[in-house]
Subunit: 321 residues, 2 copies
Amino acid sequence: MDLSYILAPVQAEMALVEERLRSVTGVSYVRFAQLLEHALKGTGKRLRPALTLLCGRFYPCNRDSLVSIATAMELLHTATLIHDDAIDNSEVRRGEATLNSMWGEKSAILVGDYLFAKSAELAASVGSIRVVTLYAHTLMAICSGEIDQDLTPRGQGHSQRRYFQRISNKTASLFAAATELGGLLGQAPEGALGALRSYGHNLGIAFQIVDDILDFIGEGEEMGKPVGSDLMQGTLTLPAILLLEREPRDNPVLAVLADRDKPANLRRAIEMVRNSSIIPECYRVAEGYCSRAQKALRRLPHNPVSGLLSDLLDYIVERHK
Amino acid sequence: MDLSYILAPVQAEMALVEERLRSVTGVSYVRFAQLLEHALKGTGKRLRPALTLLCGRFYPCNRDSLVSIATAMELLHTATLIHDDAIDNSEVRRGEATLNSMWGEKSAILVGDYLFAKSAELAASVGSIRVVTLYAHTLMAICSGEIDQDLTPRGQGHSQRRYFQRISNKTASLFAAATELGGLLGQAPEGALGALRSYGHNLGIAFQIVDDILDFIGEGEEMGKPVGSDLMQGTLTLPAILLLEREPRDNPVLAVLADRDKPANLRRAIEMVRNSSIIPECYRVAEGYCSRAQKALRRLPHNPVSGLLSDLLDYIVERHK
């Protein structure tokens, strides 16, 4: 499954989003411009703006507003990644050194805040109170997810319920906003907005589960970050939670949480997950969310992009990074 | 000049703002709740929400919306202080240890982001696109001011023009938003909005100049932070800029900027400022801005709070912390 095929109908608008992102880096402070360029360079998949643009095809809407909101989604996403990496002390993302690892936490705070402010300006610029209200709630959801991840004491928060609540806030809320906003700009009826939101939410959950799978089975080089990063940082993801459920005692996951300085425990946890049926089970869970997203798509008007949004679900599950 | 006298007419609404601020700390993570309580405890003067409430008296408006926006102003202010303190490595503010000094930069990022998100939610909650647009522009202005402060190389940015531009962004923009929003909620006519904005802006500039004066002449204990903090952090304020203009060579200000580890230079800079006519000159400049604020007040309808807003200008200049 090729992402460029899925994005073909919105290629022109994606180029406009890139242009807007580049314009954000045009500040008069040379050093700050460098930080922004590092933060916004096109190594990501730009999935969130793509979703806004594709979902904007169901109901006719102003193209400039759509590009603004798509850009706001990517800026908000980037801002949260930068602050998250600083909070988590992450050194690598998408195969690149993180901003905090290169220029320190202070730069990460400043760049993140600046991108937040830019995205808020863009969200406000389209002149719709529903758009900014959804934007503000999304900001709060992402924050709540991050708080839950960082403040749950190491070794607690084992439950699947907590996991799904956290990824719903931290990841799926922005996907759901990206898809719903595409409809909101075209004054889609409430039923269609609900369907767009449900598609985005379920796609977002599936996306995060696959991300969490790849953290266990991916090759570090391809992933652009070390294998087992989440567990090392004390974040319990679905594969780790399933391993804990199956082996409540003498579980290397607990050993990693108790003492992160023993890499042998991490290696053992990764091996146990890989040698069990946990990974296929996680994929089945992700596919369940994709089915719900498919169902939501069927509640939307027939449209040439429907098929592509359906293909995107396959892409999300099949991707390797 | 007593602040409680000025705030008497909005005392009930100020209590509601305090209640809203307390409710922000009601999160289920005990440790995070502690951080929020530390961040929001009532040691500040709450000037910004007070301005919104007082300015809300010129045109009748919904009381609940007014309290929401007043609360949003204080939350945004607090969020920026927390991130600024983390960026500047500040250890003390208002006589209290800063969040970053007590719990580290990561906590400061998280708490600041959470308060930003809360304030954005409140700003969006009143359902006015003009309110959120002004809010977003203010966020961007504050960010730009912080970037200018942090990214201007030490020893540059000597000009008064740069100084006024920076404090206009960093400080006065939020005061101007606080006053204009009070009018916006009451659908004040454009002329009145301009007057409210001008009052807030000029008051904000005067406030910052006095703050910068106090950094040179205040008593550390009363101020709640060490004397000369700004210069020590490489920030050139009006007294330092005037000293540089008068003594371009052999100036201890330059010596502090070149090497912050020699406290004798800082002591000498403070002494030179204190023994010159610079402080009275700075006060004259601040009073000039107060006069502009007074002029703006006269463009507003006659109202019992007009006199209090005028008194507030005197309070700002005469205060000792």
